[in-house]
């Protein structure tokens, strides 16, 4: 690609005295200790700037030209990860204002809408971002299937991706209960009632009565900490939503990205 890296016809709008100040700052030991490569205007420097930076090193030094095209990859994997970061940031900020307690949770939601500065924007971004993440992760899976990108050597990374899809759905589902309004309460009631129909492990499921499974010791009881959605379910949803599932998702994402980094973007073989 780009062979002529030294552009001599540069038009500068920066006054000369400012340029001198910039050049002085760039020559200081402090600046050089932070940015060790310098402006990456040659190919070796372009490689070095990626390789020598902790954060940039999540990207490869060189990428496949084919996989870069938007019409090929749709950017959906990257957008999903970015939405995860956005949801982490807005989620941490929401945690300052929200207490998962039966009598407080709903009032905290009202405070977020009417009292907390920018609280309504914060909650809206978290909500729409979460719906967006579920949607983009599904689109990402559809794209990977249609381009056959799960073929060797990427078979197991597809498996990890399916688990990440499941974790994304569970993250969204646990978050649904937290506002403690009628919408979330009954949606989670409907969802968790399905667990009581699990064969062998749910009290309404086939064959479970032979194992002594009842309403107070089945899999649904373990999920919601009671026989109906109540304060225990709220705390469980909160802890899974804010700690447990994000940790599992992060562990799986590290693996997912490491494999992509090693295998490169998929392209025609």
């Amino acid at each position: 690609m780009s062979t002529n890296l030294n552009n001599n016809n540069e038009v500068s709008f920066v006054p000369p005295f400012l340029k001198k100040i910039f050049e002085y700052i760039k020559s200081t030991p402090v600046w050089k200790s932070i940015f060790r490569v310098g402006y990456p205007d040659t190919m070796p420097k372009r490689m070095a700037v990626m390789r020598s930076s902790f954060y940039m090193h999540i990207f490869p030094t060189k990428v496949g030209v084919h996989g870069m095209k938007i019409k090929y990859g749709w950017c959906m994997g990257g957008i999903t990860f970015f939405l995860f970061l956005l949801l982490t940031i807005t989620g941490i900020l929401l945690m300052f204002y929200y207490v998962p307690e039966e009598h407080r949770a709903y009032n905290d939601m009202k405070d977020l809408r009417y009292v907390v500065p920018f609280g309504v924007i914060l909650r809206n971004m978290h909500r729409w971002g979460a719906h967006g993440m579920v949607f983009t992760v599904i689109l990402h899976m559809i794209r990977v299937f249609y381009t056959g990108s799960y073929k060797p050597p990427r078979q197991f990374n597809w498996t990890v991706g399916v688990l990440l899809l499941l974790i994304t759905l569970m993250l969204s589902f646990t978050g649904y209960l937290l506002p403690w309004d009628q919408l979330g309460f009954w949606a989670v009631t409907v969802g968790t009632n399905m667990a009581s129909a699990t064969p062998l492990l749910g009290y309404e499921g086939p064959f479970s009565k032979y194992l002594g499974i009842q309403i107070d010791n089945d899999i649904r009881f373990a999920l919601i900490g009671g026989t109906r959605i109540g304060p225990n379910a709220l705390v469980r949803a909160y802890v899974w939503h804010c700690v447990g599932l994000p940790l599992i998702a992060t562990a799986l994402m590290i693996f997912h990205f490491w494999r992509i980094r090693k295998d490169g973007f998929s392209g025609p073989m």
């Binding site: 690609m1 780009s2 990456p40 190919m43 372009r46 990626m50 990207f59 030094t61 060189k62 990428v63 496949g64 030209v65 084919h66 870069m68 990257g78 970015f82 939405l83 956005l86 939601m109 009202k110 924007i121 909650r123 809206n124 909500r127 729409w128 967006g132 579920v134 299937f145 249609y146 381009t147 056959g148 990108s149 799960y150 060797p152 078979q155 597809w158 399916v162 499941l166 759905l169 969204s172 649904y176 309004d181 009628q182 919408l183 309460f185 009954w186 399905m194 667990a195 129909a197 749910g202 499921g205 086939p206 064959f207 959605i229 090693k262 295998d263 490169g264 392209g267 025609p268 073989m269």
Partner: protein, 252 residues
Amino acid sequence: MAETKTDAMISTQPGYDRMASWPYFIWVVLLCMFFITILIWTVSMFFNAPLEEAAEWAKTPNPAKAPWYFIGLQELLVYFDPWIAGVIIPNQILIGLILIPYVDTAPEVQGCYNYSRRKFQFVFFSFGIFLWFFLIITGQLLRGPSWEIYWPIIDYPLGGHEWTYPNQILKASQAKLHNLSLPVGITISVIGFIVGMTLPAIMFKKYFKELGIIKYSLVMTHVLLTLGVVGKILLRLVFGIKYVIVTPWFNI
């Protein structure tokens, strides 16, 4: 078994052109981040996240709907008992998805949108995605009180958010349902399974030999399960059949 290619081997493939990540790729990522942030921010400025009245155990809304991504499963509750719709089907979908790379190992078609050489894969996967979203749209937009179908224009003539006219009686289920007797149900299921497993093997001998018996069985089991779900939906809608197999322990 296809040979596993490592990073070094991919980068030496003649068709695999590479370019420095800096600055183009980094720019794409940065612009993408800006675009998504602005999009989410703008949407959040104009549309408030839903917040209904405080949760109350005594007030059951009709209908109580699951979140949109699970509503397809809730929609399946019309046609299946909860242990199938809520447990077996989602688990089987996950198992099926995980199996995909291990049954579809033909290495030549990858990294491009190629329909002609992957017709079966395209059709089956697209059908599954279509079915999933079809159920979601039905459940989310068309289901009203008592989980009956409420059509967008016919049943909300004023374009309001109320389910019906103020004085109109809610819809009641008109369906008269009956079950197949056990021998008939088992016979139909077994014949369907045997024909479904053997007929494609005879019709497409070349593919059967390429796949081998294990991969073929795994693929066809999932195809038949998918068709079984559709078949059960049609049996219910067209013939009013509730259960195909009735036993003292479980019903299908």
